[in-house]
């Protein structure tokens, strides 16, 4: 099959540069404006940061699970999540501003305040700055190690065609999924749950995971559709693969709603002040309207749009649903993070846009720059043919 396997032209040369310029403008603008209101800056930054981090983490999970289940159908499109997860090294660098803003974001980091707070004093052995940093280093070390391992083996196979690489990836994937589950959960506890340090929810980890994996699959689909528009991977990723991605998206839309509701439901039923506090903040003022908006457009609308087989196979509609869900993931994270800062309702700031633009630009630039250097699909994967011949019943 004669399929172009290398990016060239606009997407390879100019696009990463344009994205980089956009990113630098965004970050610089955010830093200049953020000098006046550092707390707003760090909250805006955290939302956008988490948005891209969850996409990369979801992609890592996607790759691990493909190897763990020895999936054949996804081989042709696996390079896209591989590139997304390789961006985790970039996310480690972009984490530095959050470390600088610890005191603006996490009030448990203020030792004087902790001394007056019985609950925080109890939690201090876990929630203290040095241990927080150690954990962050540990998370990034394991993610980057896993991402590099799977990326390197997969791209090495492009050259050597060695089937042993597939086997070794399958072997590591079992351990990888365990490491992933632990680090993913604890990072959500550290970076999101501890924004409200009195509050606790045993579901926050899986809740953030659910949104992340959903958005990640949507992003895979979106990038594949973008490449398709430019004439790449038209045969390797065909309507059958979009159909399957659509099924996964549909499933994870339901999973996200299921997890989100379960978290709310248990807290609502038990009605314990330390737990209800969080929801009280997140539904006060027009945050309530915002929450309903998220339920409708993150669950109800995509559920009905994507229930049908025809919808998943109609690439225009597919693009629409995927874009909607990616946007809603940003809004969802905004709803999760922001009420800790603007307590009584939505307060849109120019920093929200600038931070997003900044990270978006840098993230996409690095992504496409790296994509230009490797084959667009695993050239010599032993299951490539199985993937290309795959047909849905």
């Amino acid at each position: 099959m004669a399929e172009v396997n290398k990016l060239n032209g606009f997407l390879e040369k100019r696009f990463p540069k344009i994205a980089l310029v956009v990113g630098i403008i965004g970050i610089c603008g955010a830093i200049i404006l953020g000098r006046e209101d550092s707390t707003q800056f760090f909250y805006s930054y955290l939302v956008s940061y988490l948005f891209f981090l969850t996409i990369s983490l979801g992609a890592l999970f996607f790759v691990i699970i493909q190897h763990l289940t020895r999936a054949g159908w996804s081989v042709g499109l696996r390079r896209i999540p591989e590139h997304l997860m390789a961006n985790l090294s970039l996310m480690a660098v972009l984490f530095i501003p959050i470390l600088l803003g610890l005191h603006d974001l996490y009030h448990w980091s203020d030792t004087a305040e902790v001394l007056h707070d019985a609950l925080l004093l109890k939690k201090a052995p876990f929630l203290n700055v040095p241990f927080f940093i150690v954990r962050a280093v540990l998370y990034f070390a394991s993610w980057i190690w896993l991402a590099r391992f799977f990326f390197k083996n997969s791209t090495d196979q492009d050259k050597s065609g060695d089937k042993g690489l597939t086997l070794s990836m399958q072997k590591v994937s079992a351990v990888a999924i365990l490491i992933y589950a632990l680090t993913q959960t604890f990072s959500a506890i550290d970076w999101i749950m501890s924004l409200t340090p009195h509050w606790f929810s045993t579901m926050i980890g899986v809740y953030i995971f659910a949104g992340g994996i959903l958005t990640s699959i949507c992003t895979i689909s979106l990038i594949a559709l973008l490449l398709r528009r430019f004439g790449y991977l038209r045969e390797t990723i065909n309507v059958e693969h979009y159909h399957d991605l659509g099924k996964l998206i549909f499933g994870f839309v339901i999973f996200w709603a299921y997890i989100g509701f379960s978290q709310y439901f248990l807290i609502w039923y038990a009605n314990i002040p330390e737990e209800t506090e969080w929801y009280l903040h997140h539904i006060s003022g027009n945050w309530n309207t915002f929450a309903i908006f998220i339920i409708v457009f993150h669950f109800v609308v995509p559920f009905f749009l994507f229930a049908s087989r025809h919808a998943k196979r109609n690439l225009k509609l597919h693009t629409g649903v995927v874009l909607l869900l990616i946007t809603m993931h940003f809004f969802e994270l905004y709803w999760v993070v922001m009420p800790n800062f603007s307590h009584h309702g939505i307060h849109v700031s120019s920093l929200d846009f600038l931070c997003f633009l900044g990270i978006f630009g840098i993230y996409t630039s690095v992504l496409f720059f790296r994509m230009g250097k490797f084959s667009l699909y695993p050239l010599k994967d032993p299951r490539l043919k199985e993937s290309q011949d795959f047909i849905n019943h």
Binding site: F261, Y264, F265, W268, Y269, N271, A307, S308, R309, H310, I391, H393
Partner: protein
């Protein structure tokens, strides 16, 4: 008197080809039989998409409304009880059961809808009278059967099936 003429084919590829030819020859009341699903058979036979999805959607929505409605009615009208100080109409508490009933009704609609659309259960079918068919159809045989209301058609249909490469061709009557 209605008859069916059955012809056997060697493998799935032959069956697929035969189904296309049968359709092209203008036969409408025909069916292809295989022990397993064959890719592209729907197109070859000119079958339209199943309406089962819509049946399931209706089942699911009915279940959703029924599950929620029942709980709302019981909690507010039939047996109003204050539970842990919450309002009688606590819709949050109704969600799990609503969800379960939705799934249950969807599953019922899917299973029984499938039975209905396939006209199952069917204890008798005249095709079973065909020797080769009754032996192999569920394990390793590939067949095409063409129905006709007029038993006079038998000869021409037999001729046709033989012409497209069928073996063991014979007609079965009611």
């Amino acid at each position: 008197m209605a008859i069916s003429v059955i012809g056997e084919f060697k493998d799935p590829t032959e069956l697929l080809k035969a189904a296309k030819q049968t359709r092209k020859a203008g036969y409408e009341a025909f069916d292809a039989h295989s022990p397993f699903p064959i890719h592209g058979m729907d197109d070859a036979m000119g079958l339209k998409g199943s309406i089962l999805g819509w049946v399931v959607l209706c089942g699911g929505l009915t279940g959703c409304v029924a599950g929620f409605g029942l709980q709302a009615w019981v909690a507010t009208e039939a047996y109003p009880l204050v539970i842990s100080g919450k309002p009688l109409f606590s819709y949050q508490a109704f969600v799990p059961v609503t969800f379960e009933v939705t799934v249950l009704f969807s599953a019922f609609a899917a299973v029984f809808g499938m039975f209905g659309l396939n006209k199952l259960p069917q204890l008798y079918n005249r095709l079973f009278k065909h020797k080769s068919f009754s032996k192999k159809a569920t394990s390793h045989g590939f067949f095409i059967s063409i129905d006709s209301e007029l038993s006079d058609d038998e000869v021409s249909i037999v001729e046709f099936l033989k012409s497209i490469g069928a073996t063991n061709v014979s007609g079965v009557k009611e």
